[in-house]
Subunit: 348 residues, 2 copies
């Protein structure tokens, strides 16, 4: 079924995944479209962002945000149109960025909605101009503190975060080494995004290859994957290196701690000996007040062609679960977005 | 044999320790006293500092400084008197802070020597007014960024670094929880140093006790020990907590990584979810230019009695190896210093 003006399709969390999510963890519901009350707006989701952090929300374990309740719609950032407005700040037809979740329709009192200016690609507000781009930009610049001539390494190099990190680091005059899954993505990172190198993490000798291209060591490692990439990076980190930490996608589906030995003290010792800064951050919590500055700068870079952006558009809300499962396996190529509905639609 | 003016006693690294150092890793040599050439000074060591980092210098593994060569004198900070000066910047009788190592006499071209003003306790320049105090001060203030009302936890609470951290944190209006080995040290930390609590890490239920006294969680954990203290601290760290990392004394004698599971990815996940900053530092490398500011401030606090300082003075260079071995086991009480020679001595 496609989006229409009589039913509110929702993708619900049916059960909590053990390890990698499967289709059975999701269910599709068809509910009535909610009605906006005085002061509220009815939003229709046009684009839904799929991001790795959503895996954390599917689990009951403590994280930086409350878990999704079983039977509730999956949460997520979205670009929506205002279909009905009983709020003086919004008009029917407005484009807004919302956190409407995996569903066609939602009601908002307007808090937290960000009105979008007229733009060619409103879905960019979920990627290079939204949370992923903002994450890459702030983490790199504020924690990473890249200096011209330094070496910056980032994994998931063609994704929403990684592609921003690498391109901003190039603008700052750094040598940029990406890591991505497969030759096609690596080619894109070098030829389109302008990275100096991009290594395929499916190759067995990642650590050796990384050492070969990082001849002067690594000054900034933007951490969004963890696991074997981090293992390859750690011995190459220079004195006073910086590690902005925004994600650990390789770890999200683990059901138990990896086998020993316990390397946590060795990790600490390395951070000490090399005087390294490792800092976790959640972009809107830590840097929310700087969104305007980011948005202006990044819009300019995108319009000038200094930052390029690749989107993978999935058609239809029904396909969100499988697309999300593929995201956790690195099957996407570019920022993953679901087209939930048409830009324009006759409303009831 | 005591210090005299005919022989230069030296404690040499005889062999590299495997695990905890033993007497057999050290040897005592008696050599001729070196002679200062034009531009140089002859230094006589009066006080020698013993510090945990020296364990790292005994190993061949890569660390933040070159290892001591087998057969060379152990390195270390010292307070010395100038016995002969052929350098216009120094006069016979001057007190200086040097890095003269575990020996009676050494020659310097004057670089890196810091002249001490007349002071009641020149040995304090190896403790509260020297490297350990500076380490506690800068790590706490620059990386820890303590705010009034926050909870600060520090282990080795009565040592040179820990006692500074806790007392400066109290001056900044924080709640301070120390961790130390045994009831005597804990009593001292609370009654003399003014900590709010001090827990004995020899007790089995450290994690529970720590949770009980840190009712509002932990905002700053000053890391100088690692191991089970860190394990107890980690679950209590608040969002946006800071961890200045200057040492891991509990790990220095390990000969292999601890048994599994591998908790390094879980550590990273915790840093991410709680948006924690973990940063290693070596005080003179990272903050050398701020030593003057520190020295002035700390001297004032000490003279006003706002910062108290406990020294454990060991008599005689011969006793340095056993005192150092005890330091790694936490047997010292206060900053460990060796009195190598008398304040005044007839020179040849």
């Amino acid at each position: 079924m496609t989006q229409n003006n009589t039913v509110n399709r929702q993708v619900l969390l049916a059960s909590r995944p053990v390890g990698a999510p499967t289709e059975s963890n999701f269910s599709i519901a068809e509910n009535t479209i909610p009605v906006a009350q005085e002061g509220e707006v009815l939003l229709r989701t046009v684009f839904l962002s799929l991001d790795p952090y959503m895996r954390g929300r599917m689990s009951a374990a403590e994280s930086y945000a409350a878990p999704v309740e079983i039977g509730s719609p999956m949460v997520g950032g979205s670009v929506c149109r205002v279909e009905t407005s009983l709020n003086a700040d919004f008009q029917k037809g407005d484009w807004v960025v919302a956190f409407a979740g995996w569903q066609d329709y939602s009601v908002s009192d307007g808090k937290g909605l960000v009105k979008l200016p007229a733009m060619q690609n409103p879905s960019y507000a979920l990627g290079v101009l939204g949370m992923p781009g903002f994450t890459g930009y702030m983490g790199l610049l504020d924690i990473g503190q890249p200096k011209a001539g330094e070496t910056v390494v980032v994994a998931a190099a063609t994704g929403g975060v990684g592609s921003t990190v690498g391109q901003v680091a190039k603008i700052k005059g750094c040598k940029v080494v990406g890591i991505a899954g497969g030759p096609e993505k690596c080619k894109f990172a070098v030829e389109e995004l302008g990275f100096d190198y991009c290594l395929d993490h499916y190759q067995d000798n990642l650590a050796e290859e990384l050492a070969k291209v990082c001849v002067d060591g690594i000054d900034v490692y933007f951490e969004n994957v963890g696991g074997k990439v981090f293992d390859a990076v750690l011995p190459l980190l220079n004195t006073q290196a910086r590690i902005p930490l925004c994600g650990l996608i390789s770890q999200y589906n683990l059901t138990e701690l990896p086998a020993g030995p316990d390397r946590s003290s060795a990790l600490m010792a390395r951070l000490l000996v090399k005087r390294i800064r490792l800092q976790g951050f959640i972009v809107f919590d830590d840097y929310g007040s700087q969104y305007g500055e980011f948005s202006q700068q990044m819009s300019q870079w995108v319009s000038e062609g200094k930052v390029k952006y690749k989107e993978q558009m999935v058609e239809g809300l029904d396909n969100a679960p499988s697309a999300f499962m593929g995201l956790l396996e690195g099957k996407n190529f570019g920022k993953l977005v679901v087209r939930v509905g048409a830009d324009d639609m006759e409303t009831k």
